[in-house]
Amino acid sequence: MRTRGVSLKKIAGAVLLGVGVALLASLTLYASTYTVILVTSILMYVILAMSWAMFSGPTGYISLAPAAFFGMGIYTAAVLGLKLPLGMVILIAGLGSFCLALLVGALTLRLKGIYFVIFTVGLVELIKNLVLWYEVTFTGTRGRFVIPADNNTIYHIMLAILVALLLTAYLIRRSRFGLALQSIGEDELAAAHVGVNVNPLKTIVFAVSAIFMGAAGAIMATRWSYIDPYIAFNPLVSFMAVLMAIFGGLGQFYGPILGAVIMAYLEEMLITRFPYHYMLIFGLVLVATIVYLPGGLVGLAPKLRNWMARVRRATPGG
């Protein structure tokens, strides 16, 4: 919104994005099944990190609720998977998570700082136990089977959700509402005093971000094929989304994407190569990033540029 007009950089970015999406869309034609499954799970993490950053990045409200919305999607697929076509199931999962987030947001987005964080952690536990209680009391089982879909379908739907998410996040970010969200993060009282409807705006964007988490959960459930409340409402999902977004950096639009891709790939690589030391190495990488790059990976670019400039000055004629 601040830098309007089409710059060369923007065109380059759009072209790069287009080529990237085309390459990804045709992945199933030339890549191995293993690669497709790996990229599916990377895309899932990108969706979680990006949709988390869409709300929490500008507003500074740290939500640990992604697991609740993701799990909502998983259960939608488990309950409706037999009765409805897959596309419908995904849409309803998104809508269900939207409604849940709308309700939760309206009730709790008045809470500030650590109180909001604590509530969102509690929400995941609450829903998990509620579902568990329902299953044990009324259906008499703990878990459910989900109709599996084939790998390529799962992959393409995941990619479609991601593209829809990127488009939505980009449009919000560059609109007047993106600016208003940022002003809420900067100084909520001042934002209200220049006419920003702070609570409705926070609630709606929070709910919109939940759509994509729910949709991702629904399609992921068809790969797992068996789920129970502990799998569906796993708090680790929330932590991963937040960690990946912060690891990548919240200062730039592409930060959470970068963070999720690198972290998810790193995790997979470490698990397969160093099954015994993977958690140790993973932890070290995270700690090093937070200590040396508080702005996340995107903070690396200006540092590199400075370093390159210094090297160039130090070697005359080079």
């Binding site: 208003a180 900067e186 100084d187 209200a192 006419g195």
Partner: protein, 239 residues
Amino acid sequence: MQLLEGSGVTRHFGGLAAVSDVDFALGRGEVVGLIGPNGAGKTTLFNLISGVLVPESGTIRLQGESIGGLKPQAICRRGLARTFQSVRVFPHLPADANIQLAALFGRPGWISVGEAERETAELLEFVGLTGVRAVPAKDLKLPVQKRLEVARALATKPQLLLLDELMAGLNPTEVAEAMELVTRIRGRGVTLFLIEHVMKAIMGVCDRIIVLHHGKKIAEGTPQEIATSRTVIDVYLGE
């Protein structure tokens, strides 16, 4: 009909009557000062008017309609804007985005981004900040941040502007500039209600002054009347 009218406005903090049974009225185009010793309840009164706090009793009317209990954003869109005692600009947003946001959200109707940009440019010019439009607000000096906050408030097209200690922390030259700014804001047809400690400034720009002490209104009148009032002198000098 007065532009802003309050009657019997009261608010306690615990057992302390921060604002107690205060009546006030501002006519269109007036510049009214609000003075009083520290802790007299001046900022609390502003917070009650702008919607940060809800009055326990009494009514506040803006253009004849009651605004007690409305949210700040609703009051803003009805034509009342304010600045804060300790400046509250959006620190990481550039100066122009601070103003543009207010232009986009602070009015009853919908305005296009293009129109908001034009008005932002005009207001940057008006407060003399065109040269620093792209600088993040936190990197501006205090007097400049104060001007930015005023411009941001004006971008909501207010009928009435509350200025909470615009001149505090400014040197004499900057105070003179701020007084000149107040006069020019008045020239735009905006009614002003200002809290000030700088007596020279308040005596120079106000048509009328209201004096608060321990949450109560103890005097009201022209600068001349206030400067010579026995009660006011007693309160300030503690005789």
